[in-house]
């Protein structure tokens, strides 16, 4: 049982800006940010469900998403080429609009 993979490497995505209660593996600092899919890591049981003692199924695709540091931190001190990569589950991602 696996959710279908929606995104491919190179596609631009945005992390949902949501603040649900419970055990969430999407760090606060990256919510709302947009980045590019670096790779598809595979599919894994949803940790938010596992934390509630449920099966975590269907498995959720997991991605490594690359973000520009200068966009994540408005006061970032460092080169424009500096990046941060974060593992994010598919249900936290939306396709970013063209031009973003």
């Amino acid at each position: 049982m696996t959710v279908e993979t929606r995104f491919r490497p190179g596609e631009r995505v945005r992390v949902m800006q949501a603040y649900p209660l419970g055990h969430v593996r999407t760090p606060y600092y990256i919510r709302g940010a947009s980045g590019v899919i670096e790779r598809v890591c595979g599919a894994f049981p949803n940790p938010e469900e596992l934390a509630q003692m449920r099966s975590g199924l269907p498995k959720q695709p997991l991605y490594r998403v690359r973000f520009a540091q200068a966009e994540v931190w408005p006061d970032y001190r460092g080169g424009r080429a500096d990046t941060i990569e974060v593992e994010i589950f598919q249900h936290w991602l939306d396709r970013a609009e063209v031009g973003e």
Partner: protein, 197 residues
């Protein structure tokens, strides 16, 4: 001065660990000897396995390609079992320097590097290295030139990360074994370079 008799009371989590362990032993799920063996293995394991992987990648370009493509499979090739994790190896180049963190907790490739250092688990490292990596690396004595991009990897879910450091200059004629001796834990987390000295 003797420390005997100066026992501090158990903390909540220590008490929970002892209670759970005693129950599991009492019910025959595990034995004391098995628990001791695993604890000893964890405590004595250092970064040697990771160093072996790095030294092989430095000396065998085809192995390096396989390692970067699938870290878990490449470790298994060397007889290193990396259970319950998917290993992603990130390569330092003259253009990009990689550094690893787990901002949410303390995920770390224990199978290859042993137990994480205390600073890796500290709130300070975890919160600062994502937003000011250059300043944090400088505090480790690692100055990254402005023209080199820094790439931070936040280990938030099911992947674990290992940095493949740059091979130091003037080590061309070194054996794989000698090279493994200079690959430090910190160089594989990405807070320091590997040095020939």
């Amino acid at each position: 001065m003797s420390e005997l008799g100066k026992y501090a009371p158990l903390t909540y989590f220590q008490l929970m660990e002892v209670s759970l362990r005693e129950l599991l032993v009492e019910k025959g799920v595990v034995s004391d000897a098995e628990v001791d063996a695993v604890a000893t293995d964890m405590k004595t394991r250092g970064p040697e396995r990771g160093a072996k992987v790095v030294a092989r990648a430095w000396t065998d370009p085809a192995y390096k390609q396989r390692l970067l493509a699938d870290g878990t499979a490449a470790c298994e090739e060397l007889g290193l079992d990396v259970p319950a994790l998917r290993l992603v190896v990130v390569e330092n180049t003259p253009e990009v320097h990689n550094v690893i963190v787990c901002t949410l907790c303390s995920c770390y490739p224990r199978m290859l590097l042993g137990l994480p250092p205390d600073w890796y688990k500290s709130r300070e490292y975890r919160s600062r290295v994502v937003r000011e990596p250059r300043a944090v690396l400088a505090e480790f004595g690692t100055a990254i030139p402005d023209e080199v991009a820094i790439r931070v990897h936040d280990s938030t879910a099911d992947m674990r990360y290992l940095v493949l450091p740059l091979r130091p200059a003037d080590t061309e004629d070194w054996s794989e074994q000698r090279l493994a001796g200079i690959v430090t834990r910190d160089s594989m987390i990405g807070v320091a370079p590997a040095k020939a000295a």
